[in-house]
Structure formats: structure tokens, C-alpha cells
Amino acid sequence: MKKLLLPFLLMSILILTLSGCWNQKELTDLAFVTAMGIDKGKDKKFNVSFQIVNPGNIPSGQNGGGQGLPIAVYKSSGDTLTEASRNATKKVSRRLYYAHTNLVAISKEVAREEILNVIDALDRDPEFRTTTQMVITRNTTAEELVSSLTILDKLPVNKITKELKATQTMLGENMSVSIDDFINGLVSNGKEPIINGYKISGKKSMAKKAENLQMTTTGAFLEADGLAVFKKGKLTGWIDHERARGVVWILNKVKSTDINVSWNGKKNAIVFATIRSKTKVSVHFKNGKPVINIAIKDEGWISEANTAVDLTNPNKIEKIDKQVEKEIKRQILASVRTAKKKKSDIFGFGEKVHRANPKLWKKIQGNWNEQFAELEVNVKVDSFIRREGIRTKPFWSNLNK
């Protein structure tokens, strides 16, 4: 009997000492905060809006969901995030639960001035995930963004997070940036963080109304828009479209995208769709100055050929290859130029220099941003057309016969 009792007693004692997460909380007592919007406040520093799921209205299985809206947005304000979050309990009947927060939207104004005062709260809270994605609202407030309804995804937050991932892989103009990524960029010596931009297109007032969802072309919709560039923890500017793609490309996050090249003087005649791509950034030193070499190896297929071109001819294919390489190189150099202009090393070139030559880095890190602006960057693209789709000769070849 003693034998049995001893381990049992030991375990009972252990229970007392190891009661880390004993706090029981029923699902029905929780308010799932799926997205959080942070705006600049009037009296207090921040106006925080919490997008809370209304589980009863989420269609699940047979019961098809209730009549109301799937989300509700509560606002509160405070000088710190914690204060705002605690103030919100005055308005919400349930305990705010952050473990399923998938998005933090930060308004342009906050990003310009106060973003550093927000991050630690998100990083420290055990409930909050550091994989939560961040976006900067561009032409709208964060509150409006998190209050918007979307048509395809019942949970608006899913629309944003999924969409960012989709554009990252399908287009390469945006990338999913988590709190973790952002902090890494912030603290890293020789790298500056970027965050996705997001905007509401159309009539902003429509975004939060249910009738917006009754139309096939919604009056207002959410849209990813550009990359926000930071410098020393403050928003300094934006990079858009092709140039944003160049950034994503240098960061080796592009999986698939499209490149248009001209053929025989016809613009956008051939479309090259990459299917895989790999970017290598290396440093070498010339006259004691770092030179960055970007080597891109990509593969793809011809998704459109809007001109008479014989795709069975290897020489022609090679020529297209060269064109594509040139185009990619152009785009990448363009985004490097833009970043240089903003004097913000979003590509992490400084990190590379640091690794290649720590001694030199110690000397130049003080004014790296200036150095960066005059950095010599070489781009070498090695493109390869893997296949031509299911047609070899486009119909254009037979058109004139």
C-alpha cells in the first residue's frame, strides 16, 4: 500500500507546484478576437478595435448560421495596448481571447510614429501568436479595415491572411509578414522591416454593411496594396507593384509570377510564368567597398504567346529566355533604386556584408544607410523555359496564310 501511496502523494504535491495554466475557460465564455486594428487616438494614444467572431452566426453544418453578421467590432482606447484591451471589457460580455488573432492592422499614422510602442505587447502576451500577420492600412483607418465584411470568406480576417499568402505565391507583389518577421527586421543590424499595405477600394462606408454582401460587385472591397518600408522603426514610404515584386524576389519569397516580354516589336507579346525561382545574394569587396551580387535562377513556362513565334525552335526559346532575364533584371534594379532612394536596406544587404566581413562592417555600420544608397548592386538572372503549355505553335503563325 505504501508503494502505491508514495507516487500518488508525490504527484499531488507536483500538482500544487506546477499549476501553470490551470485556468479553465469554457468556449462559450470566450470572445475570439480574430483581428485587431490600431489607430491613433484623440485623448489617449491608441484607439484599438477588436474584431470579434460571433460564433452563433458562423454557418456550421446543417444549421446554416444565424441571421446576423459573423463579426462584431468593439472599440476602446488607451495609452497602451493593455489599457485599451482592459477598457474593452467594459463593452464585451466575454473574455477577450487572443490566441486566434490572425491579423494586426496598424494605421499609417501609428506606423509613422508609435509602432515601436505596440510591438512588445503583442510579442510578450502568451496568448498572442507571433505568427500573427501584420498589415498597414493605407487609405483608411485600421478600424475600417477590421470592420469590413467580405463576400467569399465568412470571416473577413481569413480573406486578408489567405489573400496575402496567395499573392505571395501567385504574383509576388506582397508577402505575409508576421510579428516575428517584423521584430526580426527591427532588431537586425543591417536590415529594415517591411509590412504589407492594405486598403479598401470603392465606397469605404459600404465596407461594414451587410448589404455590401448582397451585390455581386461589392461596393467596397479589401485589397492588398504595396509594401510599407520602415526605417529605424518608422514608416518612411511605400513600394508598389513591380517594384514590390522586385523586393519579394530579392528576399527569395517569389514562387510564381508573370513576366511580359515584347517580341518583334510587339509589346507584351509573350508572357512567361515562373513556377519556381531561387535567389542568392552574395557579397564581394572591391576597393574595400562591398558589392552585392544577386543571382536569380528561375524556371517557368510560356503561358501566352500573342504573336507568331515558333516555340519548337530552341533558338527562339533561348531568345525569349534572354528577354525574360532582361526584364526581371530591370524590375529588380528598379526596386533596388527605390529602396536606395529611401535609404532603407529592406533587403538585408547589410546583414550579408556583416557576415562576409565583420571587421569592415564594424567600421561602416554607423552610416550604413548612406553606404546603402551608393551600394553597387549586380543582378544576374538565369531563366529557363521548362515547357510551352499544350500548344507549340500559337494560332498567330497560321493567321496570315
Partner: protein, 534 residues
């Protein structure tokens, strides 16, 4: 627990007292001799058996010698008695004067295969009540007992509790002799030994201990016999009595002996060096020692090919874990660790639980208890009503409970998957253990979440490792780990690779498969010898 054990000790003491009393009883039939006057024997017999109406007495006379034949109607084969005893009595007209009458009867008249001379009353009752015919002869203080057993017995049918897709379809019956024959038909070896004893002071139940000499461990045989001899009880009505009286540990939900109604399973256990205990009156034969993993080995595991049986066995072990952890996991995840559930699923579950009035634990408890009641009811109900129960059950557990907002649909999935997983354990004893542990786990999950479940699992593992079955560690060959005996644990090796018997059970004759048993098609394809192999 300590109070209970104290009570048990007290009981044991009083049992010993009963023992003494019984031994002092002067009326013990062993001391009484058979009387010379045969009529007195009959009247004594009738008086002792309370003039029971099933005693059949037939007097006869061969020349001048009187005698009487007694048997129990229903236990003895009356056709055999009239064919081989009465008819030969009537045909015999003269007893040669130079011969002793008693010896003459044995030598010439009683035409039965097995006869026995008995002298005291204890033997009379024993033989009579097990279906033998007793012949008292006038003037002799001894009697002849002839084996005329023959009663209505159930035919050998398909097993009803341990079904297989492939494999023999016979099962044990309630008759000890039939059962031993079923085993002997499978193992035709002179080394298959059968020892019998009678247990039960009132019921006098026949118990057979079967093992293969040279394969079974002598120590374990001695231990089992010792434990069986210690049993002092009025009756043994099922092998379950024996099981509970000889097992190593009462305070456990895990079975430490195995039982089966399949002769092929028992035979395979005998061949692995285990010992079978066959109890008259029940089709369930106990085999011991038993180890944990054995309860996940079904007999088709060995009849199907190894890849299939390995995957099915792993599935069964997985199902066992589901059976006792699924509701606890649901409770822990929904009340403590909501962050572990994927967002969409968490919201879907939250949506379903929105209108459920109870906490997850209570909800799970209601459903689990309802299901257990339904299962128990379904087991007991007459077959004709059984269908009604399943309909009501499907409605109560499924549709209605959900529609009434009583439980959430997820809970129904959890409960039903638990139930189905539970049924996939091949041996009922182990399945029922999982059922009990499930409730403990649910309680722990409700109090402490996954931490509590881990505590429970730890305690369970420690407990499992501390169990013994007739001296063999229960978790053998996993703990203590034994590399050479892994051929039949999680992975069932190809049959030709299972070269040895489990060495922790069997002693002595370990090798079971010869060398070069791996099938090699080349030998058959070209008849030319390929030269030295291996």
C-alpha cells in the same frame, strides 16, 4: 484502499476458520465405507440425496446373485446403460462357481470402456454426480463405477464473442471433455499434458490444466497449480471465478489473465509456452501468463499476411488510445487549450457550443454515460427488443440530443468515434478497461487540462509497468525492453521470421521455426539445384 484490504484480510481469516470447521466435521463421507448389504446402500443413498427424483435405481439378479445399478437420470447415457449393462446382465445366466462374483462382473459382464472399483461413499457421490453408473453387488463392501456419462450438450458452434474473418470457425462448449478434445485435435503431441482437479467444495467443478511439457515454464505450472489448490470456495460457475481468484493483482482494471473461446487461440498460446485452464461448464478457457500487448493480437493477425496484420494491429493500438483519450482530449482542448485548435475549427466548435447549457465536461459526461447505459441495455435486452433500443439510441444520442440543444454535434462525433474505437479492441476485458480509464481521464482533463491527462497517462504507465502476470512483467517485451522478442509486438514479423517462442514465457524449447523458411520462388522455377544455400 487500505480499509478495503483490511476487510479482505478479515474475510480471509474467517475463511480459514470455516476451513477448520469443515475438517473437524465427523460426517465426512470419505470415512464411510460401502456396506455389504446392497439394499442398505440404496436406502442410504436415497436418504443422503434427499430422495431426489432423478436417481434411477434398477435391481437385477444374475443366477442367485443380487445387485443394483444406480445412475442419475439426465447425466448418464440411459441408452448406453441398457445396451452395455442391462442387456449383458440379462444374457449372463450362470456365474462360474470357481470365480469371484465381483471379479466376474468386471471381467465378463460390464461391457464399458472405463470402469473403476470404489470403496467409500465420497467416491460414490463423485462418480454418481458426474454421470457414472454405480453397481452395488450384494455381499461386497465395494462397488463398480462405469463411465456412462452422457448428457445433453450444446453442439460446437461458431464463436460468438471473438469473431475473425479468416480462421477456424469452431469454439469451445460448456463440456470440459469436448474442449480438451478440440485442443488435442490441433496439437497431436504426447507432450500436451492435461492435469485435472476438482475445485468448489459444493459444486465439485472439474478443472483441467493443459500445457505442453518442455515448452511451458515448469515454475509457472507449479505456481498456477499452487494458486488453484489454494482456492477454497463453494462453487466455480465460470472461469471468471478462477481468473479472479488466481490473478496477481486485484487492484487494477487491466486483465492479467487471458481468456478465449477459440481453440486455435488457446492452442497458439499453449505453443508459446502458456498454460491453459479449462473449467467445466463454461466455453471460456483461461490462458496465463498474459502480457499487455497480447490483448491487441487477434487470431487473424497470424492467418493474414504480415503487412496487413501489422497495419491492422497498429490501427487497433491507435483505436485503444482513441477509446480512452478522445473525450478527455475534447474537454481539455475546449476548456483549457483553445489556442491548440485551428482557428476555423475553434470557431466552428464555439458556434455549436453556443447554445449548449453545460460546460464541456458535463456535456461529455452526459453523452458518455448515456452511451454506456445504452450499450448495457442493448446487451441485456431480449433480442426482439434489441432493435428498438438501437433506434431509440440513435435518436437519443444523435439527432434529438443535438436538436434539443442538449449537446453539440462535435460531442456526438467524439462519443461515437470513442465507442467505435472501443469495439475494435479484440478482447473485451481490455476494452472495458479502456472504458473505465476514459472516465478518469475525462475528470483529470476537466480539472487540469492536458497537464492532468499527462499525469493520468504517467500514472497509468507506472501502474502498467508494475503489474505482473504469474511473475512475468505485464509490459514485456516493451518494459523491460527485450530486442529479441519484438517479432510479435507492434510489427508482426513474417511468419518465417518469427523464429522463436517468446523467451520470457517459454523455457527450454525456444526455437519454433527451422532455418531457410523464407519462401524462395527460384527453387521451384528451375528444378536444377542452385548449390549450397544459406
Amino acid at each position: 484502499v487500505s480499509i478495503l484490504s483490511k476487510m479482505l484480510k478479515k474475510k480471509q481469516k474467517s475463511r480459514q476458520n470455516d476451513d477448520l470447521r469443515q475438517q473437524q466435521d465427523p460426517q465426512k463421507p470419505e470415512d464411510l465405507q460401502i456396506l455389504r448389504v446392497y439394499k442398505e446402500n440404496i436406502s442410504r443413498l436415497k436418504a443422503e440425496l434427499g430422495n431426489s427424483s432423478d436417481i434411477t435405481v434398477r435391481e437385477f439378479k444374475i443366477s442367485n446373485h443380487k445387485g443394483v445399478l444406480v445412475y442419475m437420470d439426465g447425466l448418464a447415457d440411459s441408452k448406453g446403460i441398457s445396451d452395455f449393462l442391462l442387456e449383458s446382465f440379462f444374457e449372463t445366466e450362470v456365474v462360474p462357481p470357481q470365480m469371484d462374483y465381483f471379479q466376474f462382473m468386471i471381467d465378463k459382464v460390464v461391457a464399458l470402456g472405463s470402469i473403476q472399483t470404489i470403496t467409500n461413499w465420497n467416491q460414490v457421490y463423485d462418480n454418481l454426480l458426474s454421470g457414472n453408473t454405480i453397481i452395488f453387488l450384494d455381499g461386497y463392501n465395494k462397488a463398480i463405477s462405469g463411465a456412462t456419462q452422457g448428457w445433453e450438450k450444446r453442439a460446437i458452434t461458431e464463436p460468438s464473442t471473438q469473431l475473425t474473418i479468416r480462421g477456424p470457425k469452431d469454439s469451445f462448449t460448456e463440456t470440459l471433455r469436448t474442449n480438451t478434445a478440440l485442443i488435442r485435435r490441433r496439437i497431436k503431441s504426447p507432450n500436451l499434458w492435461l492435469e485435472t482437479m476438482k475445485i468448489g467444495t459444493v459444486s465439485q467443478t472439474d478443472i483441467g490444466i493443459m500445457y505442453i511439457k518442455g515448452i511451458a515454464n515448469e515454475k509457472i505450472i507449479a505456481e498456477i497449480k499452487e494458486r488453484l489448490k489454494r482456492i477454497n470456495m463453494d462453487s466455480i460457475l465460470d472461469s471468471g471465478y478462477i481468473e479472479q481468484l488466481i490473478e496477481d493483482q486485484t487492484w487494477t482494471t487491466f486483465p492479467t489473465t487471458y481468456h478465449s473461446e477459440r481453440p486455435d487461440v488457446v492452442s497458439s498460446h499453449l505453443l508459446e509456452g502458456r498454460i491453459a485452464i479449462i473449467v467445466d461448464g463454461t466455453p471460456f478457457v483461461i490462458t496465463a501468463p498474459a502480457i499487455f500487448i497480447q490483448f491487441f493480437q487477434a487470431s487473424d493477425d497470424y492467418y493474414l499476411r504480415f503487412d496487413i496484420s501489422t497495419s491492422i494491429r497498429i490501427l487497433r493500438i491507435l483505436a485503444f488510445f482513441i477509446a480512452f483519450l478522445a473525450p478527455a482530449t475534447y474537454i481539455a482542448a475546449t476548456t483549457f487549450h483553445q489556442e491548440m485548435i485551428p482557428t476555423t475549427m475553434a470557431i466552428a466548435i464555439a458556434a455549436q457550443r453556443e447554445y449548449v447549457p453545460f460546460p464541456a465536461f458535463v456535456e461529455a459526461l452526459i453523452m458518455e454515460v448515456t452511451f454506456e447505459i445504452l450499450r448495457e441495455a442493448g446487451l441485456r435486452l431480449p433480442r426482439a427488443v434489441g432493435q428498438a433500443v438501437s433506434i431509440v439510441g440513435a435518436l437519443v444520442i444523435g439527432q434529438a440530443a443535438v436538436e434539443a440543444g442538449f449537446v453539440s454535434p462535435v460531442m456526438v462525433i467524439v462519443v461515437s468515434s470513442t465507442a467505435i474505437a472501443n469495439f475494435s479492441t479484440p478482447v473485451f476485458d481490455m476494452a472495458i478497461a479502456a472504458r473505465l480509464i476514459r472516465f478518469v481521464m475525462m475528470g483529470l482533463a476537466a480539472i487540469l487540462g492536458f497537464y492532468g491527462m499527462m499525469l493520468g497517462l504517467m500514472f497509468m504507465t507506472i501502474h502498467l509497468c508494475s503489474l505482473r502476470s504469474f511473475g512475468i512483467p505485464y509490459m514485456m517485451p516493451l518494459a523491460p525492453f527485450n530486442l529479441h522478442n519484438q517479432q510479435d509486438v507492434f510489427i508482426r514479423f513474417p511468419i518465417w521470421a518469427m523464429k522463436n517462442r517468446p523467451s520470457f514465457i517459454s523455457k527450454g524449447n525456444i526455437v519454433r521455426t527451422g532455418e531457410n523458411q523464407k519462401p524462395d520462388p527460384l527453387i521451384q522455377e528451375d528444378d536444377q539445384p542452385k548449390g549450397e544455400q544459406s
